[in-house]
Amino acid sequence: MRIRTIKPWWVIAAFFSGMAFAMWAEELILTTHESRLEFSAPRVHFLAGKPLERLRNASEVPFAFKVTLWSGTRNHMLREVQTRFVVSYDLWEEKFAVTNLVTPRRTARHLTNLAAEAWCLKEMSTDVTGIRPDEPLWARLDIRAEEIREAGLPFGRGSISDSGINLTPLIEIFSRPAAATQPHWIQETGPVTLDELRRGRRG
C-alpha cells in the first residue's frame, strides 16, 4: 500500500497564497504607530470616477471622512474622528493637492492620486491611549464626496471661518444616509486587538 505524503513546498505555497489572498481581500487595514492607530485602505480609490472628472476640470472636490472605533461586542463606541479634505488637481503639473480643513489647515501638494488618498487616511489616525491591549476593536471608514455649494465654498457659507471649520454641517452629513448619486465608500474591519496589531497581525 502506497502512502501519499504532502510535499512541504505545497504547504508553503498554500500558506503564502492564502496570506496574499487574505491581504488582498482586506478592505481596511489597521496599524499602530506608537500610541496612534493608523488606517490604510489600498482597495479604496475615491479619486476616481465622477470626483476625478470634476478634478480634471479644475474644480476642487471636498470629501467628508469619518472613522469610527467600537469595542466589546461592537456595542460601545470608543472613538469617532470626522474631518474634511478638499482635493484639487493641478492641470499643468498633473498632480493632486489636498487640504485638511480642520484647524490648523494642512496642505500637501504634488501628490499622485495614490499618495493623495494615502495622505488623507494618514490624517485620520487616532490616539488609542487608554484602550486595553486585549480589547477587541472594530473599525469603520466612511468617505463621501460632496458637491460644491454656494459659489465655490466647499461646505457652504459660514462653514469655514478664521477659527476653522464649523463641524455642525459635517455631523449633519454623516447623520443622513448617502444619496444614491453621491459617491461614497464604506470599509470595515474587526475584531482585532491592539496586541495583535503590535505583534504584526494586520487588522
Binding site: 476640470n57 479644475a58 476642487e60 492641470l91 487640504t99 494642512r106 504634488h110 501628490l111 499622485t112 499618495a115
Partner: protein, 418 residues
C-alpha cells in the same frame, strides 16, 4: 577606502535625489484650497446655442477674466449669470490647458434645453370691446429636434377680416448646423367680414376661405442677425356667385435683428428688435395678384427697476394689387389703440406709418399711439390715441381713447400675449 566611501555616499544621496516629491511635509496655510488658482486664464469662450443673446455687459465681464488668475468663485458667478440671462437649464464650465505654460482656457457650454415631448400653449388670448374675442392655441410635439405643431385660431383683431381655422407646422431647428432652420406651415381659415368692409369692397376682393402652405428656411447670417427665405403658397375662394379660386404665391424674405443688453435679473435691461420683410407675389409662381409688400418694424425696450419704457415703429407699403389679408390695418389691440379699425379703413390700406410709446411703473401702464393708413397720399391723416391700464406677466388690461374732437368713445381690451 575612498572608493568605498564614495560608493556609500552615492548609495545614500542618489535615492534621496530620486525620491518623488510627494513626501514633502504638509504646509500650514489659509489660502485657496484649489491649486489651480495659480494658473492664468488665457481665454474665455462661450459655446452652444443662443450665445449670441448674451448681453454686452456680460460679454465684457467674460472678456475681463482673460489674463487674470483662475478664480473659481468668479467663474461660477459668471456661469450663473449666463444661465439666468439666457434662461437655459444648464451651463457647464470646462477648463483645459491653454497654449502657454500655466495658462488655462475656460469654456462655458450652454446646455441644450431638455425638450418637452409634448406642450400645450395658449399663445394669444384677447377681448376687445369693438372686435370681440380672439384666441390662438397650439399643441407641440418634439421628437429629436423636430417639432410638430397643431393649433386653432380665431382672430378678429389683426386683419380687417375675422379668420378662424386650423394651423399645422413642422420645424427642424438644426439642419446640419445651428445656423440653419427649416419650417413648413399649413393653415386653413374661414373668413367673416364686417358689414363696413363688405360695403366698400369690390366683389372679387372678398373671399370665404383661404389656405396657406409656406416652406421657410432661416439662416443666422451673423449673430444676432438672421434672414428667413421662403414661399407662401395661398389659395382663396372668392365670394362670387360663381365659385372661383385664386392663388397668391409670394416670395417671402425677412431680415431680423434682435439684441439684448442685460437680463430680467439685472437692474437694467435693454432690448432692441428690428425687422424688414418683403412679400412679393409674382407670376413666376403663377400668382394671380402681383404685388410687392414691404414692411419694416422696430421696437426698443428699456427697463430699469420697476420702470419700463417701450418705443415702437412700423412702416409699410404695398405696390400692385394684393389680397386683403396682406393689407395694413391700424386700430386694433396693438396699433392706434382706442381707434376702430373699420372707421380708419375697413379694408386695410396699402401704406402705413405708426409709432407708439408705452411706459409702465410697477405694472401701471400709460401709452400713446400715433399713425396713419392710406391708399392715396391725399387720404393720409395722422391719428392719435392715449390709454391707461395695467400689465403684469404677459397679461394686459387697458382702456384706450382716440384723440379726436367730438365724442369720447373709449375702447376696452384685456388679454395676454398680444
Amino acid at each position: 577606502m575612498r572608493k568605498l566611501l564614495m560608493s556609500g555616499m552615492f548609495a545614500v544621496v542618489l535615492p534621496v535625489m530620486c525620491a518623488p516629491l510627494p513626501d514633502e511635509p504638509p504646509d500650514q496655510e489659509t489660502g485657496s484650497t484649489n491649486v489651480n488658482t495659480r494658473l492664468i486664464v488665457e481665454s474665455v469662450q462661450v459655446s452652444g446655442r443662443d450665445r449670441a443673446r448674451l448681453s454686452n455687459p456680460l460679454r465684457s465681464d467674460l472678456d475681463q477674466v482673460a489674463g487674470r488668475n483662475f478664480d473659481p468663485p468668479l467663474l461660477e458667478r459668471l456661469r450663473s449669470r449666463i444661465k439666468q440671462e439666457l434662461h437655459v437649464p444648464e451651463v457647464r464650465m470646462h477648463v483645459a490647458k491653454g497654449g502657454m505654460p500655466d495658462h488655462v482656457i475656460v469654456n462655458f457650454e450652454i446646455g441644450v434645453e431638455r425638450e418637452k415631448r409634448f406642450a400645450l400653449d395658449l399663445s394669444r388670448f384677447l377681448y376687445h370691446s369693438k372686435q370681440g374675442w380672439s384666441g390662438q392655441g397650439h399643441a407641440t410635439m418634439n421628437l429629436h429636434e423636430n417639432a410638430f405643431s397643431f393649433g386653432m385660431v380665431s382672430d378678429g383683431d389683426r386683419l380687417s377680416e375675422r379668420f378662424a381655422g386650423i394651423q399645422a407646422g413642422f420645424e427642424r431647428r438644426h439642419v446640419g448646423t445651428d445656423r440653419l432652420r427649416l419650417r413648413f406651415d399649413f393653415s386653413s381659415f374661414h373668413e367673416q367680414w364686417n358689414q363696413a368692409s363688405l360695403l366698400v369692397a369690390a366683389p372679387d376682393e372678398i373671399y370665404r376661405t383661404r389656405t396657406h402652405f409656406s416652406p421657410m428656411a432661416t439662416v443666422v447670417i451673423l449673430e444676432p442677425l438672421d434672414v428667413s427665405v421662403g414661399v407662401d403658397f395661398a389659395r382663396y375662394r372668392l365670394s362670387l356667385p360663381v365659385a372661383n379660386t385664386e392663388s397668391s404665391n409670394a416670395v417671402v424674405t425677412t431680415l431680423r435683428y434682435h439684441q439684448r443688453w442685460g437680463s430680467a435679473k439685472d437692474a437694467g435691461e435693454h432690448d432692441l428688435r428690428a425687422s424688414y420683410s418683403l412679400r412679393a407675389g409674382t407670376h413666376v409662381f403663377e400668382s394671380d395678384p402681383v404685388f410687392a409688400r414691404h414692411q419694416t418694424e422696430a421696437r426698443y425696450r428699456f427697463r430699469r427697476g420697476q420702470q419700463d419704457l417701450a418705443v415702437g415703429f412700423l412702416a409699410g407699403t404695398i405696390s400692385g394689387r394684393a389680397p386683403l389679408y396682406e393689407r395694413f390695418v391700424l386700430g386694433n389691440a396693438e396699433t392706434l389703440r382706442g381707434w376702430n379699425k373699420f372707421s380708419l379703413d375697413p379694408l386695410g390700406a396699402s401704406h402705413v406709418a405708426h409709432g407708439s410709446i408705452d411706459y409702465s411703473y410697477r405694472g401701471f401702464l400709460v401709452f400713446y399711439d400715433t399713425g396713419a393708413v392710406w391708399d392715396q397720399p391725399q387720404e393720409r391723416e395722422q391719428k392719435q390715441s392715449l390709454g391707461i391700464g395695467c400689465r403684469k406677466s404677459g397679461f394686459q388690461l387697458a382702456v384706450a381713447f382716440p384723440v379726436k374732437s367730438g365724442t369720447v368713445n373709449p375702447v376696452f381690451y384685456a388679454g395676454m400675449n398680444f
